[in-house]
Symmetry: C2
Subunit: 253 residues, 2 copies
């Protein structure tokens, strides 16, 4: 079965979820369950961002755990990426890896590159997992550091991308990149990124245009849409829209 390319961001904000969930003991979990039930036939992956759960303390983290279990119970082939953007020295990073891969049992996560390889290494022993390292992010302030030009003429984000591709070849093929769809540079990166797992946020509320993704879709590419689906009046209709659009783009190639 072709499950397309759509990853749905499960980032529930209590101020934005419909009132009917607020009377529940755990509104975040009930809301997520509703979103999953509505969208699972169009979802290749779900991506909860852990910040939205941490903000609600133990209740939030319980919602996160139940959400991941629920997705895997319905369809164990759906990938769950726990977006955490961690990055710390090796001894500490190994504890983050335990939390994300052993406690929450996610299939993948996101990491920050700034501290370098030893902050990534503890995650590599989980060879059945995806690791997406921030390359070129989708936010406006990516300009501050990622676009610093280095002495050989490349931007910093290009140096990070090159290094991650090197790690992918050297260690295992689950090592990939986060590349925001809000960047026009994504077009020039397509050839270089072939075969590398990609998590691509920025479509939808962040205004990334879907046509920029032409030629980049493949089995280990995840196009994330969060707010534009989960806060829609009909998450199902919106998920189907993105699912169809991505398949249309893929057939154009």
């Amino acid at each position: 079965m072709n499950k397309g390319f759509l990853c749905i961001g499960l980032d529930p904000d209590i101020k934005r979820i419909p009132d009917r969930f607020l009377k529940d003991i755990n509104p975040l979990w009930e809301f997520n369950k509703y979103i999953i039930d509505e969208t699972i036939e169009y979802a290749k992956a779900y991506k909860p961002n852990i910040a939205f759960y941490e903000a609600y303390g133990s209740n939030g983290l319980e919602a996160l755990k139940k959400t991941i279990e629920y997705v895997k119970k319905i369809d164990k082939n759906i990938t769950v990426i726990l977006d955490a953007k961690r990055g710390d020295i090796g001894n500490t990073a190994s504890f983050y890896a335990v939390s994300i891969f052993e406690d929450f049992k996610a299939d993948g996560t996101t990491l920050s590159p700034y501290m370098g390889f030893d902050s990534i290494e503890p995650f590599l022993k989980y060879k059945d997992k995806y690791i997406f390292i921030l390359g070129l992010t989708s936010n406006p302030s990516n300009k501050d550091f990622q676009f610093i030009r280095t002495e050989d003429g490349k931007f910093l984000y290009e140096k990070v991308i090159d290094k991650v591709i090197e790690w992918n070849k050297k260690y295992y093929n689950g090592i990939g990149l986060v590349i925001g769809a809000t960047n026009k540079e994504i077009s020039e990166l397509k050839n270089k990124l072939k075969g590398i797992p990609l998590l691509i946020p920025g479509i939808g509320t962040q205004k990334g245009e879907i046509d920029i993704l032409k030629g980049i879709l493949s089995d280990n590419v995840f196009i994330n849409v969060a707010r534009d689906i989960i806060y829609s009046n009909s998450p199902k209709t919106k998920a189907k829209f993105y699912f169809d659009e991505l398949n249309r783009l893929n057939n154009l190639i």
Copy 2:
């Protein structure tokens, strides 16, 4: 009262804490309580790293919460820095800020610079808090990216430090840097960093030498020691040793 410069890292690893704590319902909390009781007269700050608590799920996070409350109950003037190295787009970052400053009630945190200003901004509305942004870290792989030379001849870490100092002047004086004591470059940075809050890890197990800190100590500088104190046979003796050493260094100036 001079509380010196010592920050004690509360990074409990269940595999390393003494057996006598393992029979407790929450060994991490009981161990931390012991460490705090032993060391508080020498501590200007405590720095729990959240990874060590996340790895033990809700039990771990409960230990973290109790630990922070306990420190503040004994002495509300002691600074608690919740080391989390977060960094995400603005909408998400605001949820991390809620978790760290409102739920855990920490007095400060650490952030990763890679995504730029909008990933830092949500933390700035808490103007009574410290924000330490990773500048030059203490781990060996800081070489991978932080020492990339940029087109104007500066290393990346210098560009990050310059930008953080700019933010400190522009926004508020709680914005500071993490600078690892394992880097000899710290000596050259002293003048530039005057008046900027600093969190300096790397002394102790990571082999940073204490004498490198000469001339950098001031009221908003925190020298972190974790494993070398908390896993010592006498945390009190070790804490006093570092407390005295740092005061000795400060008096040399």
